[in-house]
Amino acid sequence: MQDAKLIADLRDAFVNIEPDRATELLKKAIEEDISPKEIIEKAIRQGADEVGRKYEACEYFLPELVMSGEMMKEAIESLKPRMKAEGISTSGNVIFGTVKGDLHDIGKNIVISMLSVAGFDITDLGVDIPPERFISEVREKKPDILCLSSLLTHTMPEFGVVIAQLKENGLRDKVKVMVGGRPVTKEYANDIGADSYGRDAYEAVEEARKLMQTG
């Protein structure tokens, strides 16, 4: 019962954007030996869902999304040693980057936070990434999903360039490709041959989960 109260308080600290309180409660939860799985499922993911609901309802805005994402990502990082010790596996491996010619990273960073919260292991390549770098990273790290981000209409065609180079290098069937960014549409994603598209961070997480199920 006490554990349940602690977990609920921790979830509320994430939802109410109280970083100091969340750090304190997380420390207590670890000291009291509550399993990382329970902390992630009931405090972090439920907290993330509630933050998402508030964002959709315009009760929360981007700072709340960014800040709660950072808090949850930090919490997951601090739980990682115990997750590894207890054999808790990740939801999947993701390589993420903003395409060549585009230096925007805010959307990418939010999606990365949300994917981390959802249990994905992320390699963040950063911004202005040339197609060759995506190819070499896919070849070396063998991720489940390659996420490509673009905020500019004139850098969106880079998605297609990366996909074409994956094909040329015999890697297209080795990795799922998800694309996103403010001007990107589902129709555009289909046209260029991406496997998936996320309208926002929450949809991106759902789509990533679906991609992992389809194998």
Binding site: P19, C58, F61, P63, L103, V127, T153
Partner: protein, 344 residues
Amino acid sequence: MTPRERYMVAARLEEPDQVPVAFLRSCYDATRIGLNVKDYILDYGKKLTAQIKLHERFPGCAFVPGINPDFGIVAEASAFGAEVFYYEKEPPMCTPIIKNVEEIDSIKTPDPYRDGLLPKVLEAYKYLIENTPSKYEVDPPAIRGPLDLATEIRGAAQVLSDMYRHPEYVHKLVTIAAQTQIDFLKALDEVSGGTKLSFICDDIPGLISPKFFEEFGFPYMKKIFQSFNGKLRIYHNCKRSMHILERLVDTGFQVFNFSFENNLKETKARLGKKVCLWGNVEPIGVFLKDPKEIECVCKEQIKLAGPGGGYVLSVGGGCYGPDGSIDSMIEAANKYGRYPITVD
């Protein structure tokens, strides 16, 4: 009336002869005529040629700012030391320079006559004033607002989380950003002998809560606009801003270039008597598609926002679009936008 004259009448909340069409100018002027964007930015003669060609191709619409020393969105950030990256077909960009929040303590307000690209903007402005044919208006460039500039030199995600973790540093940074813009606008005023307009672009207010806008946005935007009373003050925000509409207007601008994500009918009802509305056709889903659809959408926009004046038809975010789309918008304004508006 010329398109520019129509725009200025609408800016006074009056009815011109017809609803004006105007677009926010951008570095894509270069790519339209096959110019490398870096050449467009740094070669003032090519900049002038590209901008004039756009006027010649589309005599039925205005471009605001008019002929201007457009350096994209990097000039102010470069003055803080941000490295500028140039591309052949895309606007230049720069990366944030403040890694640790404490570094904000050592940031100084730049000198527009000395730092980064700002002296080049002033030099380009002088060149354009001296070399532009008199039938065209020469304006100062659109500049970054205080929060936009803060995110360019610190990083967007960092500024947004700093609002929670280090609010005192956000205030410091935005204070310096606002002063930079005031000093820059004053320098533009000095080299030109008096500018006619001040054009501020700041998208970040649309992304933050009313509470954070009051704290980190409102006072600084107001300070900038108050410094330029007597000029036409224009504000661009291509994010949804329905949650702070009235407070945005209280900062003191007269023309509002706003996002397609804002509901036009509600925006007109709430702001139509206070500021001129400039927008807001959906820039990708509509403006890049079927010209017939563009005509229908423009007709509806004119019907909603045209009556009474104080309205300029345009896209809501982004810049232009294909030639055919611009032509369709101009034709729609000619067809449905004559005052008095009688669209069914």
